[in-house]
């Protein structure tokens, strides 16, 4: 009896909200990437959209190199927004807004914009498609941003910033 209770309480501690939403959501994220891959052979990533969309308004060579993919990347992003909206309408019961302070979102966003583009990928490109490809570059990339993000988040929490 005791040996059964220990792993249960540990599970509850590690996953206070259970694992269902995370596991099912993760499988769907992967499925979305697979649908695109099966039809087109493209390994989709979300962060290239930032640069490819800038090619509409900037002539910088760095953005213009994504010219050929910029249209479908907008379609992909619109799909992501609408897919999440479908979830919100059916399960969430309306809009939800974050309490995380705007300065954290803005400053963090700037770092995300710089870092994902220099580091060749984000959580979807490296994390989902790259790790799924067993790419050593992506695995090292994921370990790097995961470790730094954990340290950063813990430091910010230690400094008493919440949320």
């Amino acid at each position: 009896m005791f040996t059964e209770l220990v792993p249960l309480s540990l599970t509850a501690e590690l996953f206070p909200n259970g694992v269902f939403r995370y596991a099912v959501g993760g499988l769907l994220v992967g499925l979305g990437a697979v649908v695109i891959y099966m039809g087109t052979g493209i390994s989709a990533g979300a962060s290239t959209f930032l640069e490819s969309t800038l090619s509409y308004v900037s002539d910088q060579s760095r953005f213009q190199q994504y010219r050929s993919s910029r249209d479908w990347r907008i379609v992909f992003t619109l799909g992501i927004i609408l897919g999440a909206a479908v979830y919100a309408v059916i399960w969430q019961g309306g809009a939800w807004t974050t309490d995380v302070q705007p300065w954290r979102l803005l400053v963090g966003g700037i770092f995300v914009g710089i870092g994902t583009r220099i580091g060749k990928g984000c959580t979807s490109g490296h994390g989902v498609c790259g790790v799924g490809s067993a790419s050593k570059t992506s695995i090292v990339g994921v370990m790097t941003f995961l470790a730094v993000a954990i340290v950063t988040a813990q430091l910010v929490q230690l400094m008493g910033v919440s949320p």
Binding site: F15, R21, Y22, A23, V24, G26, L27, L28, V29, G30, L31, G32, V35, G39, T40, G41, I42, A44, A46, S47, S58, D71, W72, V75, G79, I80, I81, G83, A84, A85, Y87, Q92, T97, T98, D99, L105, L106, G108, G109, I110, V112, G113, T116, R117, G119, C122, T123, G127, G130, G132, S133, T137, V140, T144, F145, V148, A149, I150, V151, A153
Partner: protein
Amino acid sequence: MPLIFVGGLIFGFGLGFSHMARPEVVLDFLQFDDFGLLFVMFGAAIVTGIAFALMPRLRDSAPLTGDAYGRRLKSFDRNVLIGGAIFGVGWGLSGICPGAAYASLGIGNITILWALVGMFAGAYIQGYWRSQRAASETTPAGAD
């Protein structure tokens, strides 16, 4: 294009369902309060892993583009570490990454526009800088 839209729909729905579109949930993971994010990332990577391993054996090329099925392999250099570290700081500070930010807009989180503005600004800063550097490397150094 319609297929990419459908793929995006499923992708975004998954991000909403998994609560990754909420910065608070990502921060809970990074602060070790809820390890659910691991299920999302590895669950998704397992699904893509199966497809990336199977598809090249089933068909030579993708039906819609004629492109060969390949894996997502990118060359390793120090940029992967530098960029990864910068991204890590941003992700740890804000709790949001690009795909989740788009999805967050979808779940009605208007406040996430701050992060999206930041991401575009960051992408522009590095793109401007790297474009200038690439240009100065290809043209011979001038009088300055």
